[in-house]
Symmetry: C2
Subunit: 136 residues, 2 copies
Amino acid sequence: MNLTSIYDKKLRNSGLRPTKQRIKICEALFDSEKTFHFSINDLANIINNKSSLKISLATIYNTVHAFKEKGYLKQIPLNTNQAYFDTNISDHHHFYDVNDKKLIDLDNSDVGPINIYKKINGKKIKSIEVLVKLED
Amino acid sequence: MNLTSIYDKKLRNSGLRPTKQRIKICEALFDSEKTFHFSINDLANIINNKSSLKISLATIYNTVHAFKEKGYLKQIPLNTNQAYFDTNISDHHHFYDVNDKKLIDLDNSDVGPINIYKKINGKKIKSIEVLVKLED
DNA sequence: ACAAACTTTAGAATCATTATAAACTACGAA
DNA sequence: TTCGTAGTTTATAATGATTCTAAAGTTTGT
């Protein structure tokens, strides 16, 4: 089965129609084995620079949010003015290099087990994310 | 020594002139023993609702950034559209309740030791921040 | 009291993101 | 296949947070 039909199935299974825009966004995000980090603007540039089909910013926003909802993307908690997303949806963490303003994955195996001793009544833990800031 | 003169000294020591706006912002932030989390808008409301001296938004932005630079405030890494700050500048972490959209401090003692095994050449760790998302 | 440097401010500008509503497309039923 | 409906895309406008600007005001050392 080729990638396009995999994306087609993925979209259908999520209740999203496999439009050519969404397939193209899937290609930009998931064709490579390597995962990566991106802002909406990064993604718009990646797609609209190397393809004849231009996709509007609104569609890219909509699609990224839909994919985030469906769990195909994660948003990275950061204190920057724009949102950053990750195609690596495994449980993992991040380095943030404050000088180079770059994100680097920290696999779960790169971080020792994290124990949270405090409990909040009626709430359960949904995720644990570690941000390690780096400087020169 | 009263609080106002402590703030005066704090500001002078940081190379910031102790203007009445900055003193008032210090009062709003640091008078209470309790630390708290706030957005710029929260802070503007706190100050401008309970005081006759109205401080412009621009000044509040400037001052919060200056205080963050000086280490009197911390910005909390989150994926929200607006910036959140913390008057608790000790090493600590956060719960974020995704249903109630509320932040709760997680003291260092509430979290087991965190070990980072990965190293990046020429970079050193500046901070480690854990965000624990909670849901119902 | 004075000049220089620093601050505050209102308002404009910018940037990221979301909303709108009209045109377009996919899809299932007939 | 054709049609109607629901879902999608798009340009553009609207919003909201934040930053910039430049003029007016304040602080400070002398």
